[in-house]
Structure formats: structure tokens, C-alpha cells
């Protein structure tokens, strides 16, 4: 039997309700996921073709979250994956695809398109409020991420512009311009925040944080950010030649910025998603392993090489089922490695699934004398 395809407005309303409630039972998640999948295969032809090849269509919907066909992140470079006509695109973000494909190919990146920003903003703010602003602080945002005024197609820039606008004190600063980091500007504004007595949130990619702490160390500068300040680190080291261990990076950030290590919080997201993971509060007291938790409308699935769901504790590739991806594709496959773990919840409640990420170096073996894709890129310069 073919279910009636829900309308976009109806889906958006149900998703926003889940976001506002910050709660979604397993059954409700599956029901909404199935409806969203049905909607997307009705309006997103490339995804429908991919799903059909996997054995799913309007007559046969996935019976479980784990069955939902997940498109590789790099597919956004191959086709326009949207449920609405190009003329209705309100915002688009440039995707890099996964590391291998992004580095290996000669072509350009893909696009993650949104028909409107309300759902996207609601999702990101709800998570940010709970995971970064649980104390309700109104912070000053010092951003070491792309400035969305300079790069309107950076999803990270859009996110932090939204957060700064909605949750900031109006004196936010932006210090990453192209590949250049304005260290002087950052130091000046950090001092001003201290003078003003306003706690800050330093939003930064991991690589920019390395550059900042290196620069501060070179100058012999250790800042003392106001009490209550925090760091949101994201982005890892994709595409970078220098990789710094998390313990070293967080230690340096703590020392140079004057914030406790537990105030350095990792956010995990990707351009192809509308939602983000954050370190659980319990795991922030240590550096490794940090455990990530998804908001209720986002579910991680860890799979083996055949796409089979793996039990908790087993390392595999991470798929994301993001109900806030209403306008594109509900399920995204990555090459990121991780394992699901139990997160303590209230007594008598089934533990939720947390996610422990593994770095690429932790999962790679080196064998043979064949060139690998990353070395090929390095040769190509």
C-alpha cells in the first residue's frame, strides 16, 4: 500500500515540534523518518533512484531507521539533492564531500541547499542552547570560523552568525579571513571582553585553534578569558597537513586562553547535515574519549562495509539520520569512524546512544607499496 505523501509544511511542523520539545521516542522517530523518506523520494529524483536501487520506493518504505538508504556525502558533488526546484533555494552551503573524494577529484564541491532557514536555525539553536549554553549565559562570540559575510556558503559561518545574532551580546568578532587568522584582533577583543566582564565563546575549527595557540605561544601570551568563557571546537583537520592530538590541542587551548579543559567542547557536524552533535557533559571532564550526543531528531548508525548496523561498542563507518534534513536527504553516509556507546540516563530508562569518534589515523593501516589517495594529492600539490 502506498502511503499518502505528507506535505512539506506538515513535515516541517512535526520536525519543529520535536525540536522544540527536544524529545522524540523511538517509535515517533521512525514514523517521522518514514514519512520524511516517502516525501523525499517523491520530490528528490536522484535520491529516489538511489533508494530504488536499494530496494525501496513508495510501496516499500524502510521498516527500521537502519534500513534507510544513506547517500555518501560525496554524492552532493554528483547531483542536486534537493526536494524543491532550484529557483526556490534560499541558502546553499558548499560541501567538500568526504576527504578522499574532495581531495582526489579535479572537480568542485557540491551544494547543500535549503528552501528556507527557519528549520535549520531552529535545529542548530536548540542544540546549541542545551549543549553550549546550558547555564543560560549570554556570551560574546569570538569566531575563528569563516565569516558568513565574506563566505556566505560556509555552513559553519552561517551557524555561528545565527548563534551570535540570536544568543550573543552584539559585540561578536570574526578573525578568520580566508586562510589568514587575525591574531592581533582576537587578542585585542579578548582583552576588551575581559575589561567588559563578558564571558566569551571562542568558536573555532580545530586547525584555527592550533594556529591561534601556536601564535599565542610564539608571543608568550596567555590570555585570561573571563570566567564562564568556553571554546567550541569543530572541524577536525580534514585536508590539513598538520594534525595535533586532541590532548595537546585542548591542553594548549586551556593554557593559552585561560579556560578549564572541560570548557573546551567539541561539536561534530558536517555541511550535509542540519543538526550537530556535541560532547556530553559527563565526558567533558576528560579529553579522551569524549562522547558525542545527538539531539533527539538526529540518530547515528554505525555500519560495517556492507552497510549492516553494528552493535554498540563496535567500530564502523558513521551514518547520520537527520530529520532536520527535510529539504535534501534524510540519511548521509560518511567515512568517519566511530562506535556507539551507552549514555547514562535516568534510572529505568534505556540508555541513549552516544557516539565516540575515532580519528582516521586510529583506523588506518599502511600496507603495500602502492601510492595512496592522499599521497597522490600531495604529489599533485
Amino acid at each position: 500500500m502506498i502511503r499518502a505523501t505528507p506535505a512539506a509544511d506538515e513535515l516541517d511542523a512535526r520536525i519543529v515540534a520535536a525540536i522544540e520539545a527536544y524529545a522524540l521516542s523511538d517509535d515517533a522517530f521512525l514514523e517521522l523518518a518514514r514519512d520524511l523518506f516517502a516525501y523525499q523520494i517523491a520530490h528528490n529524483a536522484p535520491y529516489a533512484a538511489f533508494a530504488r536501487a536499494a530496494g525501496f520506493d513508495a510501496r516499500r518504505l524502510p521498516a527500521a531507521v537502519e534500513e534507510i538508504p544513506a547517500v555518501p556525502a560525496a554524492a552532493f558533488k554528483e547531483a542536486r539533492l534537493a526536494t524543491f526546484p532550484p529557483g526556490e533555494t534560499a541558502v546553499w552551503f558548499e560541501t567538500s564531500g568526504t576527504l578522499r573524494r574532495a581531495q582526489g577529484g579535479l572537480g568542485s564541491g557540491g551544494r547543500y541547499e535549503l528552501p528556507a532557514t527557519q528549520l535549520y536555525e531552529a535545529a542548530l539553536l536548540a542544540s546549541f542552547d542545551r549543549m553550549m549554553l546550558a547555564d543560560g549565559a549570554r556570551l560574546r562570540y569570538l569566531n575563528l570560523v569563516p565569516d558568513s559575510r565574506e563566505n556566505p556558503h560556509s555552513s559553519l559561518g552561517f551557524m555561528m552568525r545565527t548563534v551570535a545574532r540570536e544568543r550573543g551580546d552584539g559585540a561578536d568578532g570574526w578573525y578568520l579571513h580566508g586562510d589568514a587568522l587575525d591574531v592581533d584582533g582576537f587578542v585585542r577583543d579578548a582583552a576588551r571582553a575581559r575589561d567588559d566582564g563578558v564571558a566569551v565563546c571562542v568558536a573555532t575549527t580545530a586547525f584555527a585553534l592550533v594556529a591561534l595557540t601556536d601564535a599565542l605561544a610564539e608571543r608568550g601570551v596567555s590570555l585570561a578569558l573571563p570566567e564562564g568563557s568556553r571554546v567550541m571546537e569543530t572541524g577536525g583537520f580534514k585536508g590539513r597537513t598538520r594534525v595535533v592530538e586532541r590532548a595537546e590541542l585542548y591542553g594548549a587551548a586551556s593554557e593559552r586562553l585561560g579556560v578549564p579543559v572541560e570548557a573546551v567542547v567539541a561539536e561534530y557536524g558536517m555541511t550535509e547535515l542540519s543538526s550537530q552533535y556535541y560532547d556530553t557533559f559527563d565526558s567533558r571532564a576528560r579529553i579522551e574519549p569524549r562522547v558525542k550526543v545527538a539531539p533527539p531528531w538526529l540518530r547515528p548508525v554505525v555500519v560495517d562495509g556492507e552497510g549492516r548496523s553494528l552493535p554498540r561498542g563496535v567500530v564502523g563507518a558513521i551514518r547520520h539520520i537527520d530529520l532536520a534534513n527535510r529539504g535534501s536527504v534524510i540519511a548521509i553516509e560518511t567515512e568517519d569512524l566511530g562506535a556507539l556507546v551507552d549514555i547514562e540516563t535516568a534510572p529505568g530508562v534505556t540508555p541513549a546512544a552516544g557516539l565516540v569518534l575515532l580519528g582516521r589515523e586510529q583506523g588506518a593501516e599502511l600496507r603495500g607499496c602502492s601510492l595512496d589517495a592522499e599521497s597522490l594529492l600531495a604529489r599533485r600539490g
Partner: protein, 405 residues
């Protein structure tokens, strides 16, 4: 400090005989040092037993008196030239004093051929060995054949990273042979003396080409199985493994070729089962395959699974070969110009070109794409002992000529 030149007093033919005799002992699968080495290599690299056994067979069955003699004669003109002034014009191919060889931690026994030829030249050889101690074990057999090898052929345990005690080893060597990635080779080169001859063997890729005429032969299964062997052996992770197959076909014809190859992969995978894979490799392969499946669903190309291998038909030209274990892209081309254009666009450092039957056209293509070897399918990963691996001579680098005018 061991005394230098322990092999100098021996005639080259005696050295060669000892090496060949030692290799012959290693040809026996139940030779205890080989049994131990096999297990250690499996543990180090995760390859299956049949693959490691095949590799060791290939390594030691090749090291015969005839093969050693033929290689030396082809490069130096005579075996006797290693013992003193000989021939016309009279000259002595005197082996250099010290040779240092850095083995690769990712391969099986690559350090042995250069070590063997350096010993044939009567050099003192030190090999930075790997955890499986294959080289050390073979040197032990050599010492049993003749005690001079105990001092002339030494293996040092690999400690990883920069070991200051190794500086002398590199700085004082006349020749340093190194296998590894670009960054490792650069680091080793920097530690060599100004006059040291440095012979690097970097990581490379290999490709194959099927012409329109070859496609008819593909139906006969033998050719397809040879191609499959070049992909599956060593899980396709060697520099001589087949990483991309250029096919002069498109559309249905290309898909038909892929189907024939997939069937051959199934058969050959029985003989060469896949080794262990890390979660990262598994994820990368799955991602590449699923991306190809996404394209196929949209009408572009196709994906075939065969045992634990993947064939991807007609991937975009903008994409380099995936260089993933047991994954073969079939790239549609309309001739050798397209092959050369693809290799140039992706700056592929091509080692070998596999073809159905080597001919002048294949050599011309090899020259254009920078390959140093043209080999029939099925033999890509089984080069002869005397072959110019990496385009380099086997023994000539280890001698200095003394002309007697």
C-alpha cells in the same frame, strides 16, 4: 665493529652459489625459518597465508644461479668483472664498501633483491629489517652457507622514527637503497652523506590497458583471470598491482567486459582470499562503492561485486583511481591518447603497464605515461629477478668501475 670486506676474498661465483643455495632452502615451505617468517609476515601485514606463501615463493624461486648470473652479465658484461680487471677494455667492477638498505614496513621482502645483488658485488650490507625479521632470517641461512656472510650481511632491527645511532649508517654508506613513502625517502636522503648514491623506491601505481582487439580474448576467461590476479594478489596494494584498467569500449561493451571480469574475480579470489582490513579502509571502500552505486542509479556507470572485490565501470575522468584494496575502476577510453591524458591529468606515478601482449604500441604508451615496465596481465606483480625495478639496474648501482687503460 665488524671487519669490512668479508666477501672480498671469495670469487663472485662462490658468493652467487651460496646465495642461490640459501634461496633454494627457503623455497621449501616447511623450512623452519620460512615457517616462522610466514607467520610473522601474516601478523605484521594481515595478508592471508596463501598470499604470503605466494610472495615468498616468488621471492626465493627467482633467486637461482642462472638468474643471478644472467642479470649480472647483462649489466656488467661478466661475472669475472666483479673479481678483478677483466674484459676488453679491461676494467674491474669493484663492489662499493658499504650498502645500507631500508626495508619497507608495508611490503614483503622488498629489501632482499637489492641486498642479494649488493652481496654479489661483495659489498658489506646492512638492512634495516622489519618486525618479521625476514631479512635477518635469510642472512642467517647465508651465514650457514658461508661464514663470511655473517659479517658481510647484517640486519638491524627497525626502531621506527629517527634513530641517532643510524646517522652513521647513512652518512658512511656508499649506497643507500630505501623503500617507502615520499616523506620517508626525503628524510632518509637528508641523512645521507654528500657522496652517497641514493636509490629511492617510492610508492607508485600501475595500470592496465585493454584494446578493442583484446576484448575478444577476454571472453576466453584466461585473460580475465590474469587481470583478476593482478588486482587481487596482495589485495591490490603493491606498486605493481593493477589499480586502474583502461578499456577501449563503452556502454554495453564495457559493462559486458566488467561482468566477465567479475566472474573471473570470483574464481581467483578462491586462490587469493582477501586479507584483514582496517575499519578505515572498509569505510573508504564502502563509500567509493556506494558513490558509484549512486551514479549508477542515475544512469552513469555500473558497479559489480565479486567476492570481496569491487569493479566500478566508467567512473568520471575527473576522478583519479581510488587506490583502494581490491577495487578496480574500468575507465573507458577511445585510444592511448586518452590513457596518457588521464595519467597526466592526475599525475599518476606509473610503475608498470599491464597489457594482453606486450608490443611496440604498449611500449610507446608506457613511455608516454612514465611507466618503467610493460608486462602481460597475470605477471604484473611477478617481475623477473633481473628486471629493472623502478627503472633502476639491479647490481650496477653497487659497483664502481676501475678502468685499466
Amino acid at each position: 665493529m665488524a671487519e669490512l670486506g668479508a666477501l672480498r676474498a671469495l670469487p663472485a661465483k662462490r658468493v652467487i652459489s651460496s646465495i642461490a643455495d640459501a634461496a633454494e632452502r627457503w623455497c621449501a615451505a616447511d623450512y623452519p625459518p620460512r615457517v616462522r617468517a610466514t607467520a610473522a609476515i601474516e601478523a605484521r601485514l594481515g595478508y592471508t597465508t596463501p598470499v604470503v606463501e605466494y610472495a615468498l615463493d616468488r621471492l626465493f624461486f627467482n633467486v637461482t644461479r642462472d638468474a643471478l648470473n644472467a642479470t649480472i652479465v647483462s649489466e656488467l658484461g661478466s661475472i669475472d668483472a666483479l673479481d678483478g680487471v677483466f674484459g676488453t677494455p679491461p676494467a674491474w667492477a669493484r663492489g662499493v664498501d658499504r650498502v645500507t638498505i631500508v626495508a619497507s614496513d608495508t611490503t614483503i621482502g622488498v629489501a632482499l633483491p637489492p641486498a642479494i645483488f649488493a652481496l654479489c658485488a661483495k659489498c658489506d650490507v646492512v638492512v634495516k629489517d622489519r618486525s618479521d625479521t625476514l631479512v635477518a632470517a635469510f642472512f642467517g641461512t647465508l651465514a650457514e652457507e658461508h661464514p663470511a656472510f655473517a659479517t658481510a650481511a647484517r640486519a638491524r632491527a627497525w626502531t621506527g622514527g629517527d634513530d641517532p645511532s643510524e646517522d652513521e649508517l647513512f652518512a658512511n654508506a656508499d649506497v643507500v637503497v630505501a623503500f617507502g613513502r615520499d616523506e620517508a625517502l626525503r628524510a632518509i636522503r637528508a641523512r645521507c652523506g654528500a657522496g652517497t648514491r641514493f636509490v629511492p623506491f617510492g610508492h607508485r601505481v600501475s595500470a592496465g590497458r585493454l584494446t578493442r582487439d583484446d576484448l575478444a580474448l577476454l571472453e576466453g576467461a584466461t585473460l580475465a583471470e590474469r587481470i583478476a590476479q593482478d588486482v587481487l594478489l596482495y589485495d591490490g596494494e603493491g606498486c605493481l598491482s593493477l589499480h586502474g584498467l583502461f578499456v577501449e569500449a563503452d556502454g554495453d561493451e564495457l559493462a559486458r567486459a566488467a561482468r566477465v571480469l567479475a566472474a573471473a574475480f570470483e574464481r581467483v579470489a578462491v586462490e587469493f582470499p582477501g586479507g584483514a582490513r582496517s575499519p578505515q579502509r572498509v569505510a573508504e571502500i564502502a563509500s567509493y562503492r556506494n558513490l558509484a552505486a549512486f551514479r549508477a542509479a542515475g544512469g552513469r556507470g555500473a558497479v559489480f561485486r565479486a567476492a570481496d572485490a569491487t569493479l566500478v565501470v566508467d567512473p568520471p575522468r575527473e576522478e583519479p583511481p581510488p587506490l583502494l584494496p581490491r577495487v578496480l575502476p574500468l575507465i573507458a577510453v577511445d585510444g592511448d591518447d586518452a590513457v596518457a591524458k588521464y595519467c597526466a591529468a592526475h599525475r599518476l606515478p606509473v610503475q608498470a603497464l599491464g597489457v594482453a601482449a606486450p608490443d611496440a604500441r604498449a611500449v610507446a604508451l608506457a613511455e608516454r605515461i612514465g611507466a618503467v615496465r610493460v608486462a602481460p596481465f597475470g605477471t604484473m606483480q611477478a617481475p623477473p629477478l633481473g628486471g629493472h625495478h623502478g627503472g633502476e639496474p639491479r647490481i650496477a648501482d653497487f659497483v664502481r668501475w676501475i678502468d685499466c687503460e
